[in-house]
Symmetry: C2
Amino acid sequence: MPSKTLRLNMPQWQGGTEPAYRFGAELLRWLAPPHDGPEETVGVPAANEQPLAIEQGIQGRTALLSQARAARAAIERRQPSRIVTLGGDCLIDLAPMAYLNRLYDGKLGVLWVDAHPDVMSAAEFSHAHAHVLGMLLGRGDEAFTAEVDPKLDPARVMIAGMSAWSDAEGRILQQLGIRHTPAADIADSSQPILDWIKAEGIIHLAVHWDLDVLDAAYFSPLLFNKPDQPEGAFDGIVQGAMRLGQVVRLLQDVSSATDMAGLAIAEFLPWDMLRLKNALASLSIMQR
Amino acid sequence: MPSKTLRLNMPQWQGGTEPAYRFGAELLRWLAPPHDGPEETVGVPAANEQPLAIEQGIQGRTALLSQARAARAAIERRQPSRIVTLGGDCLIDLAPMAYLNRLYDGKLGVLWVDAHPDVMSAAEFSHAHAHVLGMLLGRGDEAFTAEVDPKLDPARVMIAGMSAWSDAEGRILQQLGIRHTPAADIADSSQPILDWIKAEGIIHLAVHWDLDVLDAAYFSPLLFNKPDQPEGAFDGIVQGAMRLGQVVRLLQDVSSATDMAGLAIAEFLPWDMLRLKNALASLSIMQR
């Protein structure tokens, strides 16, 4: 009998090839409100000195596949009706969305709040955090897409907050038939998203919130604020344009209009917290 | 028999009249390395809707005095030989420094790593976090200075990282006879501070690290990065110019040259963490 909300902690970093996602997941767990329901934590190996191997075009593929399957097993053990997933990189949402879509008979609505569409595959990019929405729709590495049954219904998927994309991403979005709404259209009102929910008759909604939908000038713990990067390190990569209050309003509005069955929070990279933690650990008085 | 290092958690916010210091103290405690020695947490009332009353020129004076005395009692209960204090606003360091100076027979060396001298009194400013070094030297509110016996020896006090000051502060520094070293002089080398330690024959050293000695352009969790402030809100207030790695190097160098008996970390204001925490708490799926 499904019941309650599962809190799924997933400190996965290999999908973004950035070990700091692990620390971000731990801090996100600390920041999240206390929770008295079931909780599962997916084991994720720490980074070591070796760079991640590229396997079938995907960095860290073996580890990522194993984590996706461990997440699926953890969810199936609990049989929740709702899942809050705390990441980690964007790929954390593969197993939760797949489970919820199965639970709700392939009719899950998916609001993908992100500056990026996450529909590439190994053919375009070796970082699998940029593949996850594609995988959920059946596009990409077969071992990962096999974890998703049934696939999402493209009409029930909306990307929100994406204002630009590459030519390759544009072609894939067209092939998949995915709609998207730019940040400007939802800056002051959630109406475009509420209209989509109504038009598609969405009852159960899962939200994927990639924090990089936020404007990095107004929210520090994002990839684009990584310290000590060479000039132009992020040139050509689309950045988010939303403000925190806008996303909160959007999520509250869609939560009022649907049963919010899933929420994943991804790509939290609190650089200054990590730097301060490391600074404190390096002072000998702290160890005495 | 004094032994071990006391970890003193002090989520005091009234000295800076900014309730977010309390959250900063909680997060700082989470970031600090694990500690197996004694630990004390000073109880601090949460903020409410009422602004703090100004009492004898100091906002929140009654609460602050009570917290300083509670910190002293907690320290005396444990009789530590070293204290790590996690704040909170700068005034957190009154009881720890006073205790250590008594323990070490009035010969405590004090390295005050700060963009500001913290030597004002109620005559100049109602926020007592800007009074604490003055109080430790016997200047300021009598109830607070009475907590300090013996007072610090001015020759054994060095302010590090302060590059500018007001006319009033300059006069007080001269009256007190306190030396200071600008950020530029310790950017690449700790030598000026090591020379002072050697010249004064300092054996036991307490360090006060106000994080606002850091350049706010390179370290986000500082007062000067408070979101949604009116244009010019911090005009005329001196800002820090040091980088995190420079302060860590300085602290490691003085730790090698002395017995570091005290370290207080103050003025940690992780705005984006607090905003995200509040955002998460406002989403109904988090409560289900």
